[in-house]
Symmetry: C3
């Protein structure tokens, strides 16, 4: 059990404690679920009502809310409550999780010629191929796969069933979730006229790799393809959610973040600090400048050269209404022509 007083947590978060400074806190919770021994937070003023209803012993709020929490058992005032919450989860995780034991598990398979730092941990049934380099403090969970000449940076963790293929690299402090595949072949074929009524596909061997910077997180079952001739590149601080597809030779700029099920086609160049909502698709061979934000389920079909929010999703409706509007949509061009004709008449 991790326990701490309100005063200690305030010091940790560089905040100001008010109320009962010696109150014991033994867990973190949401405003809705936290009890007298728990700390919760309020970052979004939208959830203000939940604060009043909350039984949380301690709440983290912005300094502007000092009066609103004055009557509570305890509170911590922090300039950025959401950031404070993030830091607190890290502190909590570090205290409650069992660290991986350094060394190679007897059931793991480390090929001769692989270089594994003594402080690294290679879990049960993990595989490290010849020529691979696993940095200090790196953790390969059970059943992970590190291909030949691949590199895992300092402190980077690969979770169960993650794959880092031949010749691919990831920097320091990375986190690759279960089932992620880094370095499968890009999707490249040249058509060759066949004898039948259509071309067959000739494979373009994918000779490049994947190069991932520091502090990158890759979601579960996400795929990042190796480049055709050059490398596919993810810069420092990139965050990818689950089931994301990154095509060959894509370049994702630093600190860009993509939600689940996003797809980026080959040779797209994405700037820094970009975001894409769930299910968005960015087509290939185009460029997004820094600070472009793509709404969920939007398909980007042209380059975007101006920062901003871009959207393109069909608004949902009850089925009957949608059917009528969708049917009319197929005559939209004709409607415009009719309107034009009418305008000329009147």
């Amino acid at each position: 059990l991790t326990r701490s007083t309100v005063a200690e947590l305030a010091r940790l978060l560089d905040g100001e404690a008010i109320g009962d400074l010696e109150l014991d806190i033994t867990r973190m919770g949401t405003l809705a679920t936290a009890g007298a021994d728990a700390v919760a937070f309020l970052a979004n003023p939208r959830y203000r009502q939940q604060l009043d209803a909350s039984a949380a012993g301690c709440v983290i709020v912005a300094p502007a809310m000092r009066d609103d929490v004055a009557a509570r058992p305890a509170a911590i005032l922090c300039k950025d409550p959401y950031l404070a919450y993030a830091r607190l989860t890290q502190w909590w995780a570090a205290r409650t999780r069992t660290p991986a034991r350094p060394g190679v598990h007897p059931s793991a398979c480390v090929e001769p010629g692989a270089r594994v730092a003594p402080s690294a941990s290679v879990g049960p049934l993990a595989y490290v191929a010849a020529g691979a380099v696993v940095g200090p403090g790196a953790v390969l969970a059970a059943q992970t796969h590190v291909g030949a000449h691949a590199q895992v940076g300092e402190g980077t963790r690969l979770m169960a069933h993650a794959t880092l293929s031949e010749g691919c690299s990831i920097g320091a402090r990375g986190l690759v979730h279960s089932g992620a595949v880094i370095g499968a072949d890009g999707f490249g074929f040249a058509p060759e006229a066949g004898t039948g009524a259509g071309a067959t596909w000739v494979k373009i061997e994918q000779l490049g790799g994947v190069r991932i910077g520091d502090d990158v997180e890759i979601g579960a079952n996400t795929c990042i393809d190796r480049g055709a001739l050059e490398d596919t590149v993810l810069d420092d601080g990139v965050k990818l959610d689950n089931l994301v597809q990154i095509g060959h030779n894509v370049h994702v700029g630093a600190h860009s973040a993509f939600a689940g099920c996003v797809g980026v086609a080959g040779s797209a160049t994405i700037g820094r600090h970009c975001t894409a909502g769930g299910g968005a698709i960015i087509l290939g061979h185009l460029t997004l400048v820094d600070h472009v934000h793509v709404t969920a389920a939007t398909v980007i079909t042209r380059s975007i050269l101006k920062p901003g929010q871009y959207s393109g999703l069909f608004p949902f409706d009850d089925n009957a209404s949608w059917e009528k509007n969708a049917a009319t949509l197929r005559q939209l061009h004709t409607l415009r022509e009719r309107l034009r004709a009418l305008e000329k008449k009147t």
Copy 2:
């Protein structure tokens, strides 16, 4: 080889056999492919024509079709032919599939402190971490992964390369297909103002778990993230197809079913008996009441408080027609203004 007479199958399905009751049935088939030794079914009147053309020795149909099958070699009348077909496949599977052998395969890795029921089966190269509990009759196929303190209920099966992460649980009679990842981190980061022209991301450790009820099926390479502070929850009887993404702190009500490639963003609350077609997306922090049905490829951007069918997908067309309509769509608001102006004039 499994063989049975028409009379035996009718008893099994609680139906009425007509025609040659002693006819030997040795396989199941579709109306189109079944031969004289096979049983097929007709559930949807749309496929009525296939019945007449079918060479099936025995057909399962609704009682209302008694006259239509009177001249056939044999038939079984069942109130719900589709349900009867489902039950028959189960009976067939139970008789033709080799059951997993109880015990731990010598190549599996079961950490000290794991509790594996004597009747459970832990396959080759499977991994069970310390503190994990594998219930009676549970089957861990080859190369599955059960993290520390995870729980697998009675009779639940994890297929090859499935991952049940630390502290996550699944109830009885579940089925988790290959490559599914239960309990990767939710996608949570707090922005921190950086020195450059944009924020960097501070990880919010995901301290919750995933809690899955009884009779739940999880498709291949589907991902269900662990919660941030509380758990992500799937209630009894939920069915998820392949490549589905369930974000952190989502709650899916009992008997809801999502087709392939559906994405549900964090903290969405889905009711009971809901369905979503393939590729549908449900955004985060919203609520769907019971019996909401989302059409394939539809994006749900607001809460839905009334049961029913909801849709929002762009109708496809030949490319030239689509291009004209899509181009006009970008001027739709202007068209409305022009129409309004015209209405005022006339």
Copy 3:
């Protein structure tokens, strides 16, 4: 290091060498990155400007560009430069990659009753079940999974964490990327009226398999479900990118190719030489004839009986413009009615 003269490469590609025939080539590159010792190619006239700026020692171009490359150090004229490039990558890969060693790695698990050709390679921690057949020259990478009675054709490669389930087969010269799952259950349930306010789901056991032809490539984390009664079928030469979902009883015709994140629902029949762009969805129980091309992110909701390009995606826009147009879209049917009324009036 692989090195070759321009003359040798021209012979290999059945092209005409011009310039310095003895020039040493030691790597392949793009026009933008290739140096004096590298060969690059120009297939698309759109990138003509890059040719002039390129420092590549040798360039592969079409015969029509003979004059444009006359002043360069060296060039190879090929009828189809893109195809020549594909062939050259294959030649390069064959020379630079370490071939898999035949035999069974000591850490692999090959069940009694499996038939592995002596020239096949079974990598570390791979699993081959009883009754499985692994053909001559086939390569099972580390941690792959071949289920009972599954078949791997001659020269076919399964990459790390790939799954070929029980009774499924893939032909010769196939390539299955990491995390792909061939033969998970199709998504089939019959509703059974429950005691509550809604049906529960009764599992339809999926008794069919997956049958894949020769020269098929399956992307990372792609899923191909087994059939319900009959098999799911992929014909020769089919190419699937990453994170593609193929439902049960789908039939994909020869040489069809689907980009990343495509979903095909159950019992769809796709013709030969079809393509689908990233994120496209094809609903179930419908037919696409040969040579149908589906644009990225398009949802196909009806059968297509005429070859051609089909599209249906919402054009993206800056968020404010999209919002206005999307809001109007929900009144589109009403707009049409108003237009009609106006037309009658004038």
